[in-house]
C-alpha cells in the first residue's frame, strides 16, 4: 500500500472530547462495527463483536487495557485482540487508531 493509500484508509470517527478516559464507543467504519476505547491512558480500536458467540462487546466492562464480553464473560486484550479467558479462544480484530487535529481516526474495513 502506498503512503497515500494508507492515509486514505483512516476515517475520522470521533472528536477526542467525545471519548474521555475510561469510556468506549461503538462506531461503524466502512461497514465494520468498531469499538473505540480510551483505556490505560491510550486509545484502542477493536472489533465490537466477540469471537466466541458473536455478541456485541460495547456494553461490556473495560478495565486496565481489556474489554469483557457482557454475555459469557470472555475478555480480550485491547492492544493485541488476544482472548484472555474462556469461553473465547480466537482473538478479535484490532485496527490502527490515531489522533489528528483533535480527531480520532481509525483504519478499518
Amino acid at each position: 500500500m502506498t503512503e497515500q493509500a494508507a492515509e486514505r484508509a483512516f476515517a475520522r470517527v470521533l472528536n477526542v472530547a467525545e471519548l474521555p478516559p475510561g469510556t468506549k464507543k461503538a462506531i461503524e467504519v466502512n461497514g465494520v462495527s468498531v469499538l473505540v476505547c480510551n483505556s490505560n491512558d491510550r486509545l484502542y480500536a477493536v472489533s465490537n463483536i466477540c469471537s466466541h458467540a458473536h455478541e456485541k462487546l460495547e456494553c461490556g466492562r473495560m478495565s486496565r487495557g481489556w474489554i469483557g464480553c457482557p454475555v459469557h464473560g470472555a475478555r480480550f486484550d485491547l492492544a493485541t485482540g488476544r482472548a484472555m479467558n474462556p469461553p473465547a479462544k480466537e482473538p478479535i480484530a484490532t485496527y490502527p487508531v490515531r489522533v489528528v487535529d483533535d480527531w480520532i481516526e481509525v483504519a478499518a474495513g
Partner: protein, 491 residues
C-alpha cells in the same frame, strides 16, 4: 561493645536458670523485647501494637502426613475449606452493579458480584441445568445477566432465574426455586470474605473481638492494591504458609536482612483459634549479629517492601549518637507522605518501619504496616497436593485527593521465574521472596524422604505454626460438609 558482651553473658546465665521455668517462657537472651524496642520510639505506637498475647500451645511434634498424603488434601477440601472464611476479592475489584470476579478454591468456584451499593453476593459458579460454569475461572467483568454458554439458561444479577430456554420441556422445574445458591459474604476493610457453610459463625465472631479491634484500626478500606503478583509453588499449601509464620529463619535464609531486623527477638501472639501474628522490628540489629555491625550498617542494608514509594532516593547517613531506627522512621514518614500524597503525621514510627504479619485462618496474611504493606493468599492446587498458588498484593493509602486508582492487572509468574521479574516489584524484596520460596521444594521432598514423621517446633518462635496446625486439626476432626443446594440460601 564490651558492655553489650557483658550484658549478653549475664542474660545467658539468666536463661540457663530460666530453663527450669514454665514452657514457652524463654526469650532471646541478651536482647531487648519487641515491646522494649517500640517503647523507645519517638512517635508512640497505638494500642494494637503495644500488647502481647502469647500462649504456650504444646511441644509435641506435628505429624507430616498432612503435607505428603493426597488423602489429607481431599479431607481438607471436604471439611476445612467448606467451613472457613476466605478472602475472595477486594471491594474495589467490583465497584459497579453487575461487576463480578470469579474466586476459586480447590474444586469450588464462585461468582463474586455486586448487586447493590452494599450488597455483594457469592454465587456457586455452576449452571443449575447441567452444571457448566457460568463464568470461566480466573475471569472478571460486568454482567447484566449470567447466561450459560451451553444451552443459554440465564440468571439475573440478583440470582433469580431469568430464562429457561424451551421452558415447555421443563414442567418439573420450579422457576421460583431456581435461584443461584449462595455462599455467605461479609466485607471487612474493603476485603470481600466468603464462607460456604450456612451455619458458620459471623466473620466478627470467627476473628474474635481483640483482633477485630486491630483490623478496624487499620482502616484498610482506605488503601488500594498497586501490585498483585502470583506464582505457583512446588509444595503443599500449608508448608508455603508456614514459611512465612516466623522470623526464626531470617538469619540463615535472608542473611542480608538480619542486619536490620530484630529476628530472634520478634514477638509472637495468638488470638483465639483463627488469628495469630508476629511483630518483627526493623531498623535494629539481629541479636545473632551483636558486636559485628554498626548502626550505619543497618541503614545501608535495609530492604524495603514498597521501595518504589521512595523513588530511588539514596539512603541517609547517621548523625552523631543517632539510632538507625529513628533516622529511618523520620525519613520514611516524609518520603512516603510525598510519594503517596497522604498525611502520615499521626502514624507511629513502629507502623512506618516494622513488619506486622497477621494471619486469618486458613490462608490470608495481612501486613498492615507502611513499609511492608502486603496481603498474601495461599490456595491449594485442587489436582496436586504438592503444589499451591501464592499471591502477594501490595497496598498503599488512597491518595489525599480521594481518587482511587484503578485496580491493577495481576502479574502471573511462571514457575521458573524470579519474583524480581514482576514489573513493579522492589528487586530487594523480590530476592527475599525468592529465598523464602526456593526452600520449599526441598522441604516438600525432604518430608517425603524423611525417616522422621514429625516436625519439631520452637515453643515461642514457631508458635504460629503450631497455632495454624491446631486449627487444621480442629476442622479435620469434623464430618465432611460438601455444599448442598438444599441447605443453602436463598431457598
Amino acid at each position: 561493645m564490651a558492655v553489650e558482651a557483658k550484658e549478653l553473658k549475664g542474660a545467658q546465665k539468666a536463661t540457663e536458670k530460666g530453663a527450669l521455668s514454665q514452657k514457652g517462657e524463654a526469650r532471646c537472651p541478651g536482647a531487648p523485647s519487641t515491646q522494649e524496642i517500640i517503647a523507645a520510639d519517638k512517635v508512640a505506637a497505638p494500642k494494637w501494637v503495644r500488647s502481647e498475647s502469647y500462649e504456650f500451645l504444646g511441644d509435641e511434634d506435628i505429624s507430616t502426613d498432612r503435607y505428603i498424603e493426597p488423602a489429607f488434601a481431599k479431607e481438607e477440601f471436604d471439611k476445612l475449606w467448606t467451613r472457613t472464611w476466605q478472602f475472595a476479592c477486594r471491594e474495589e475489584n467490583i465497584p459497579q452493579i453487575g461487576d463480578y470476579q470469579v474466586y476459586d478454591v480447590g474444586p469450588y468456584s464462585f461468582i463474586i458480584t455486586r448487586v447493590g451499593p452494599k450488597d455483594i453476593r457469592a454465587y456457586f459458579n455452576a449452571c443449575l441445568h447441567r452444571g457448566t460454569k457460568l463464568r470461566a475461572s480466573g475471569s472478571e467483568g460486568c454482567a447484566s445477566e449470567f447466561q450459560c454458554s451451553f444451552h443459554g439458561w440465564s440468571w439475573n444479577i440478583d440470582g433469580t432465574s431469568k430464562n429457561v430456554v424451551c421452558e415447555w420441556d421443563f414442567p418439573h422445574v420450579d422457576r421460583k426455586k431456581l435461584s443461584l445458591p449462595q455462599a455467605k459474604v461479609e466485607v471487612l476493610g474493603g476485603f470481600v470474605f466468603i464462607n460456604m457453610d450456612p451455619a458458620a459463625p459471623s466473620l466478627a465472631e470467627y476473628l474474635g473481638p481483640q483482633f477485630k479491634a486491630h483490623f478496624d484500626a487499620w482502616k484498610l478500606e482506605e488503601r488500594y492494591v498497586y501490585l498483585h503478583v502470583s506464582k505457583r509453588l512446588p509444595c503443599n499449601w500449608k508448608l508455603a504458609i508456614e514459611a512465612f509464620l516466623e522470623s526464626y529463619h531470617v538469619i540463615h535464609t535472608h542473611p542480608q536482612v538480619a542486619v536490620s531486623n530484630a529476628d530472634a527477638n520478634t514477638q509472637y501472639d495468638v488470638y483465639g483459634e483463627h488469628v495469630n501474628r508476629f511483630i518483627s522490628p526493623l531498623g535494629v540489629l539481629s541479636p545473632h549479629l551483636y558486636g559485628k555491625h554498626t548502626e550505619q550498617d543497618i541503614l545501608d542494608q535495609f530492604t524495603l517492601g514498597d521501595g518504589g514509594a521512595l523513588g530511588g532516593s539514596s539512603k541517609p547517613t547517621l548523625s552523631e549518637g543517632g539510632s538507625a531506627r529513628q533516622v529511618m522512621a523520620d525519613m520514611f514518614r516524609g518520603m512516603f507522605e510525598k510519594a503517596t500524597n497522604t498525611d502520615l503525621s499521626a502514624v507511629s514510627d513502629s507502623e512506618l518501619l516494622d513488619c506486622f504479619s497477621y494471619t486469618i485462618f486458613p490462608n490470608f496474611f495481612v501486613f498492615p504496616g507502611i513499609s511492608l504493606p502486603m496481603i498474601y493468599r495461599f490456595r491449594p492446587d485442587p489436582k496436586d497436593h504438592r503444589k499451591c498458588l501464592y499471591e502477594v498484593l501490595f497496598m498503599r493509602p488512597v491518595p489525599l485527593d480521594g481518587k482511587r486508582p484503578d485496580p491493577v492487572e495481576p502479574v502471573h509468574l511462571r514457575d521458573d521465574q524470579s519474583f524480581k521479574e514482576a514489573a513493579g516489584m522492589d528487586p530487594g524484596f523480590g530476592a527475599i521472596l525468592d529465598q523464602d520460596t526456593d526452600n520449599l521444594f526441598l522441604q516438600q521432598e525432604g518430608l517425603e524422604a524423611s525417616a522422621k514423621h514429625g516436625l519439631t517446633l520452637g515453643n515461642y518462635q514457631e508458635v504460629r505454626v503450631r497455632h495454624f496446625e491446631n486449627a487444621v486439626e480442629k476442622y479435620l476432626a469434623m464430618d465432611p460438609k460438601r455444599p448442598d443446594i438444599e441447605r443453602l440460601p436463598p431457598r
